[in-house]
Amino acid sequence: MLLDALQKVGHIVLHSLSAVGRMGLFLLQIVVCALTPPWKGRLVLNRIVFIGTQSVLVIALTGGFTGMVLALQGYHALSRFGSDAFLGPLVAMSLVRELGPVVAALMVTGRAGSAITAEIGIMRISEQLDAMELMGLNPFRYVVVPNLLAAMIAMPLLTAMFDVIGIWGGYLIGVRTLGMSGGTYLAEVAQYLEWSDISGGIWKSLTFGVIICWVSCYKGWHAGFGAEGVSRATTQAVVLASVLILVWDYFMTSVLF
């Protein structure tokens, strides 16, 4: 009885360890391929359009509303201490350091990460990846590396957009609705927001881009059989990427700031 349970636990531990190992090797393989020619510039551009350009609307909407709700909540909290003049820095810092990179990454995971998994998964089950392999080509260069490079380029830009629109949304609420002075809002942002806040946010978004691409490509690459395998892989990719983003965000925050 006890032995049985132990055996089960052992199985699970071994299983997860080997999964972690495989994912690590996969990442290593992506990095090696990404650093060596030939690069597929056109495919990278395509993927930037897919991951980046096509996410703009979603990022603008979520960014705007995140900034607005931050301003509403922040104003109430700050006005209790009579320090509502600091609304600008509060909104800006929360966005730039934390919410911008994280929420943007979660949105892109849901929008593009899941699609990447499904796409690669379908290529796997319909043997398109094997077909490439049999032409003597490395499918990694065609379906994985372009996604990685595109995500690393698009994520910081999307995050920057999220931040700017969020700060503007906060301005809208603070100044237009709550009657703060617009000059104060912006001046305080300029005074308190530091370069290290911004660069930290950019670093975060860059690594989140890697996580999104890594997880979603890995899950698609190892999709099981049939439509069910692909749908399971897609769900797993979104959940795993989101969890990893939040966990990694904690580590980044504790190291960076």
Binding site: E119, S126, D130, A131, E133, L134, M135, G136
Partner: protein, 258 residues
């Protein structure tokens, strides 16, 4: 004679169910072999072993004297540049047009200038009777057309070694015959070594020099079509009879068993 493909005692099991159970044979250079057998007896799996897509649990596969299991990524890719493979399901790149599908190996493997790419693609598509479908996506063409595009894509590089997994299944008899003729003509012109899984019995015997019968994961017969015709093995008799009847009924398999 030089063996281009040599398989030595290959075993393969999926989830402990043996699929290949000690398969050995060899195919001389320039020979075209038919691989026949009942559905689900491991033909596609064997073909994937020959191309190095699957590694055997035990045994070896030699192509042109090289053990596939011992080739690293780079050497394996170099060897595969000499391969062509027509998948049972076509495996067309579904985000690309027919033209781009056939052009893909030319552009990516040979890096030909765009003008000669177009020329060769046009010739290849004309060969399989698909001129005029260049701009269509794989989802917009019929299953049989897809098979022919896959065939054009495999032939366009004029490879030395070609594997066909049921290139004519699901086609009407006339198209099927013309595809077989095309394959035979290419085989004469290019002299490739080939293996073709096919249910087109007995027509496939007219274009092949060797027949392999796979039965329950083992090679039940390995010889010339003439030898096969006089065989008294009941499995082979059954196969010939059954497949003859099935062939003339224009048997359709809609991928349920694939």
């Amino acid at each position: 004679m030089d063996a281009m493909i040599r398989v030595v005692d290959v075993h393969k099991a999926f989830d402990e169910v043996p699929v290949l159970d000690g398969v050995s044979f060899s195919i001389p250079k320039g020979h075209f072999a038919a691989l026949i057998g009942r559905s689900g007896h491991g033909k596609s799996v064997l073909l994937r072993h020959l191309a190095g897509l699957v590694r055997p649990d035990r045994g070896q596969v030699f192509v042109d004297g090289e053990d596939l299991a011992h080739l690293g990524g780079h050497a394996l890719r170099r060897l595969r540049r000499r391969f062509g493979f027509v998948f049972q399901g076509g495996a067309l790149f579904d985000s690309m047009t027919v033209l781009d599908n056939v052009a893909f190996p030319l552009r990516e493997c040979l890096r030909l200038p765009e003008r000669s790419v177009r020329e060769r693609v046009a010739t290849a598509l004309a060969q399989v009777g698909l001129s005029g479908s260049e701009a269509k996506l794989p989802a917009q063409i019929s299953g049989g057309m897809g098979k022919r595009v896959a065939l054009a894509r495999a032939l366009v590089l004029e490879p030395e070694i070609l594997f066909f997994d049921e290139p004519t299944t699901g086609l009407d008899p006339i198209t099927a015959q013309s595809i077989l003729d095309l394959i035979a003509r290419c085989q004469r012109d290019l002299g490739f070594t080939g293996v073709m899984v096919s249910h087109q019995i007995p027509r496939v015997f007219d274009i092949t020099q060797q027949v392999l019968v796979l039965h329950r994961g083992q090679v039940r017969f390995d010889g010339t079509p003439e030898q096969l015709r006089v065989s008294t093995d009941e499995v082979i008799l059954g196969l010939l009879g059954a497949e003859d009847a099935a062939g003339s009924n224009g048997r359709s398999r809609n991928g349920l068993e694939t």
